[in-house]
Symmetry: C2
Subunit: 350 residues, 2 copies
Amino acid sequence: MAGEREALELIERVRSRPPRFRDAQITMAHGAGGKATLNLIEGLLAPAFGLTELADAAAVGDVALTTDTFVVTPIRFPGGSIGELAVNGTVNDLAVGGARPAAITVALVLEEGLAADELRDEVDAIARAAEAAGVRVVAGDTKVVERGRCDAMYVCTTGLGHVDPRAALAPSALRPGDRLLISGPVGEHGVAIMLARGQFELAAPVESDTRSLWPAVDALLEAAGPSLRCLRDATRGGVASVLNELSRASAVGMLVREAAVPVRPQVAGACEILGIDPLYVANEGVLVAAVAAEGAEAGLRALQGVPGCEAAAEIGEVRAAPEGMVIVETGFGGRRVMDMLVGDPLPRIC
Amino acid sequence: MAGEREALELIERVRSRPPRFRDAQITMAHGAGGKATLNLIEGLLAPAFGLTELADAAAVGDVALTTDTFVVTPIRFPGGSIGELAVNGTVNDLAVGGARPAAITVALVLEEGLAADELRDEVDAIARAAEAAGVRVVAGDTKVVERGRCDAMYVCTTGLGHVDPRAALAPSALRPGDRLLISGPVGEHGVAIMLARGQFELAAPVESDTRSLWPAVDALLEAAGPSLRCLRDATRGGVASVLNELSRASAVGMLVREAAVPVRPQVAGACEILGIDPLYVANEGVLVAAVAAEGAEAGLRALQGVPGCEAAAEIGEVRAAPEGMVIVETGFGGRRVMDMLVGDPLPRIC
């Protein structure tokens, strides 16, 4: 099929151009974790700050640092709340960076008029999640802005971790033949938030998967340490965005077997009704691991032994071509390009 | 004057009660750096997170961490902008914590519709300020919220520094006889912001003093290292709030000679017209140092040799009583209690 090959080569050429930030205004899409976010980061922020590799956590000597602001709405949802998310999200960025989470800072922006009890609940949620994740809250900050200049509260957490000597991870380290593992069923956080917003006439028992991924990372490092190429938590933009970023960073292709991706029935059902692909939906407790073939089975077994990761699965593999692209093999043997997210179907998911 | 002594003893008893957070709602005062902020921090956040000492930066092993969100409005003002402020503010919290600033993370919350050029300007400001302060931007995050859920942009920076071996600083280390130094003229940042808002029919050539304070701290540590008790940058709530916090933390009294406090004529003039005391106005490049008497002169001379700190001065001293209180000796020989800031006369100053 020469036509298909030529089309792929064209996409590949377009794809290999350095992203540029040309927009005149910031739109919700710039915060969605997809193409517009990538253009903003790679086209403006990374060059200005001299950042070369867009990892989840950056090493400073033997410690790793990562930062994230949480602007999720509503602030409470089935399975969690903004405070818990703010701890786990940052802990997970450290974990997938191969660093054992040790300490976090918490900076709050509060909207004038916020009920003190709501604040108390989130402060408690932060304290509990930090304890569960084994991190110490070491510093904080509080700002208050006028009504209508925030949305209840935003929480910025920064995490410090100790780089694990077993980890040698980089988004550019993937090689053809590597296997792609996923730590659990996808789409739960995003679907839980959507349902919590009540925009859809749909009730399904779906809870956010917010949790610390350090136990999963620890198990993977122990079972497959030197075989591990890169880990990513599949938050904004979902598994699809993570795989696209890694395929670009490593200049490799990927083949994903859709039928192998674990999705709970209630999430699959909600996604079908809402017309969205669970591979693009945000998770807050799911990681993607690229592992050299020789370590894949041990890695997968180790993952499956971690509470919450029983459904871990191998979902595909790294190919030499088409560079920077992710191809999905559907249940019926068809194939399609799984592109980066465009626009922002689910704003303010984290 | 038995009446005066009794009154002071009563205030002292009230003052020594542990702060409690009893408010039903968040108000702008909770973000102002004064009494309400202290009640929120000491009454809710610190106990929940197990924070014992409310220092500007927390030590984690041999590194120090600090975090701050900047919500200043307008985002550009004479002498600086939010990006520059976000770097210097966090660098300064490390510096006054006795840590040499090394790295920062930058988390942006952007309002949908923000002009890309405004963002570019602030990204450049962040990069330039980081370079000037000798810190590397190591990680970042970008979130976008809908119009009316932010105010152009908020910037959360977290700083990592290396604890300087010359520094042994603590807010509880002040002793009667210590001298109080200030690194430069007060009130410039706050007055610059107020004038930039155009709420007052007043134009005066006042620029924000935003700058890195590490050179000042470095000079102080070199000249008076073991004599230094504590350093604080006098941001929200101004010099008055810093002195009140230190007097409470060390259970000492303070005497400040008003006439010794450096204030530029245009700031003094603006404050007089606006009816505010420059000692309560925020600074972004001024530190207060408590120094044992034997190191005070060397410390002051060292400070005066640092560019931007030529007007450094000794403004008062630590006394045994009244515990937790700051007394100001006015130019006319009168005395008054310089209490903590109540309410928020200047919201969103940083």
